[in-house]
């Protein structure tokens, strides 16, 4: 493209200005303010210092909440790959006229409210829910199983709810793989399992990483699912922020928790992005 003229530059600037102002005022400024407020030692915000962070990391209870949140997000990523990968791969192998139907099945949960999708897990895992009905019908257990409010239930529900965000990037990555590569591998005598492991899987790594990123970030802050499936006993970082800010009115501490969560998610995202750049080199090289 030729270098933009001054008229085009001005047009570009004017088009950009509204979102830039909005973003500066309502996204950048609040995040800076959040960091600023967290750097106060007392709730009344008279004393500056790192006290809130020392308090957070000095207490094993808080560290456990952070670890549980990151573990939940990592577990949800693993599970969503396990369940989502076959769905994405099936999509690319389906005949063209069946693809829209599967795409609809993938998009519908994504666009349905997260509260509704969480609620469906409450119905499935509840005392009279689907799982307990099956368990009772098979005579596996006398009393209904207590499935809600367990760590396993939270991971499964979060993974299922965020799964479309794994499947969509995987589909665009898998669909971009030249089908001749697969044919070549099969013609040259490699079996289907071998072809999948040595050709398809390595080429889909960028899609896997992109999906993992989205699912990790979303799972770490899946407030509704965490609170409703986890119940009152299991506390994750998002609820902890809410509790300290709204119920305890301790803004500096709530701010510090939010900054810790932000920094943890950003650190993971940056690391995965770095891996992604390396894997792209691997694919082309």
């Amino acid at each position: 493209m030729s270098t933009p003229t001054s008229g085009q530059r001005r047009r570009q600037f004017l088009l950009l200005l509204p979102l830039l102002l909005f973003f500066g005022l309502f996204v950048a400024a609040p995040l800076l303010l959040l960091a600023g407020v967290s750097l106060h030692d007392d709730a009344a915000m008279t004393q500056r210092g790192l006290g809130q962070y020392l308090k957070f990391f000095g207490d094993g209870f808080n560290r456990a909440i952070l670890l549980e949140t990151l573990r939940l997000a990592a577990g949800a990523v693993a599970l969503s790959i396990l369940i989502g990968y076959p769905v994405a791969y099936l999509y690319t192998l389906l005949p063209r006229r069946w693809q829209p139907l599967l795409m609809f099945a993938i998009l519908m949960p994504l666009l349905t409210s997260a509260v509704v999708r969480t609620f469906s897990w409450v119905v499935i895992l509840g005392r009279e829910g689907l799982v307990n009905q099956i368990v009772a019908a098979l005579g596996l257990s006398e009393a209904p199983l207590r499935l809600l409010y367990t760590p396993g239930a939270v991971v499964v529900a979060v993974a299922q709810i965020e799964m479309p965000m794994m499947v969509l990037p995987l589909i665009s990555c898998l669909a971009a793989i030249d089908p001749q590569l697969r044919d070549a591998s099969l013609t040259l005598g490699a079996g289907r399992w071998h072809t999948f492991r040595r050709v398809i899987l390595p080429l889909s790594v960028p899609g896997l990483l992109a999906g993992s990123l989205l699912v990790f970030a979303a799972s770490a802050s899946a407030f509704v699912t965490q609170t409703l499936i986890g119940g009152g006993r299991m506390i994750f970082m998002p609820f902890y922020i809410y509790q300290q800010a709204i119920q305890a009115q301790d803004y500096p501490f709530a701010g510090a928790i939010a900054v810790v969560l932000l920094a943890s998610v950003l650190a993971v995202v940056t690391a995965v992005n770095y891996l992604g750049r390396m894997s792209k080199g691997f694919v082309h090289g």
Binding site: Q12, L15, V27, F104, S113, F119, V224, A245
Partner: protein, 285 residues
């Protein structure tokens, strides 16, 4: 010595695939079963909520003891607080999607084809609310409004939702713009059209499906949001997802199932409509 006049028949070696039917069979079976399981897991929870919402009983039993529309009647006729929350959420989502579409489309026009470093950085910054824990953003905005002496109102809630919604429109609009052939713009320009005319008659028609898809996703995202609304709505106004969150957390009222069923049906109808109008699924990949 072989007779060189006789034609040499090169027989292709038989392909090795047919000799390994087990490999092919087991791979296809494994993929088929795991993908079917994945699709079932995507769709089943939503279907279960839908079926449960038509129960004639008093509890969230699945399968229901009988079917009726009583909980829908209870929802729409005797639950003004849920209906009010629903109307507020609709109004909020409409405003948020309109405003974010205006802001993000303008920015997309300036950013989409710009390879400069500042443009790429700005683009990632604008996309960041999708990756950041939205509770952190909500808390930061609450602190900002407190600092400005600005009481919470519909306006503060709307600001938060626009910040959350703008990235969706920015992504789909930019993707559509990247597919627009730049030659068309040059043609329009060299034939003497003004930038505004080019925008109206060339760019906008090409971008419209992408923008509409983004606006639709933004609308659904706003309708679904809990994390931002939790901090930014005033005491009198409660949005639907938060209302439902409280109901599910406190009482497991079956009206929550009817409200969920309503949302599921509305989502499916809107999706089919958008697929017809804009080819929704093409823009989501």
């Amino acid at each position: 010595m072989a007779d060189i006049s006789s034609p040499v028949v090169v027989r292709p070696r038989p392909a090795r695939r047919p000799s390994r039917p087990w490999d092919r069979w087991s791979f296809n079976a494994a993929l088929g079963v795991s993908a079917a399981l994945g699709v079932l897991l995507l769709v089943l929870p939503t279907a279960i909520v839908l079926v449960t919402s038509f129960t004639s009983g008093y509890s969230l039993r699945f399968p229901p003891p009988g079917y009726s529309t009583r909980w829908y009647e209870a929802l729409f006729l005797d639950s003004p607080e849920i209906v009010d929350a629903f109307l507020l959420s609709l109004k909020l989502a409409l405003w948020a999607s309109v405003l974010s579409t205006l802001l993000a489309t303008a920015a997309a026009l300036a950013l989409a084809r710009n390879r400069a470093l500042w443009a790429r950085l700005l683009d990632s910054a604008f996309m960041s609310p999708l990756m950041l824990p939205s509770l952190a953003l909500g808390l930061g905005m609450l602190m900002l409004f407190n600092l400005m002496g600005q009481g919470l109102s519909f306006g503060t809630l709307l600001a938060g939702h626009v910040a959350l919604c703008a990235p969706y429109v920015l992504r789909t609009a930019s993707a559509s713009y990247a597919q627009l052939d730049p030659v068309l713009l040059d043609c329009s320009h060299s034939l003497g059209a003004s930038p505004w005319f080019t925008f109206r008659r060339v760019e906008l028609p090409a971008l419209a499906p992408g923008i509409a898809t983004g606006a639709f996703i933004a609308f659904m995202a706003s309708l679904d949001n809990v994390a931002i609304s939790l901090f930014l709505s005033d005491a009198r106004s409660e949005v639907l997802p938060i209302r439902l969150w409280h109901i599910i957390e406190d009482s497991l009222d079956v009206r929550a199932a009817a409200a969920s069923g309503t949302l599921v049906i509305a989502t499916v109808v809107l999706m089919l409509l958008m697929e017809r109008l804009t080819g929704l699924s093409r823009h989501m990949k």
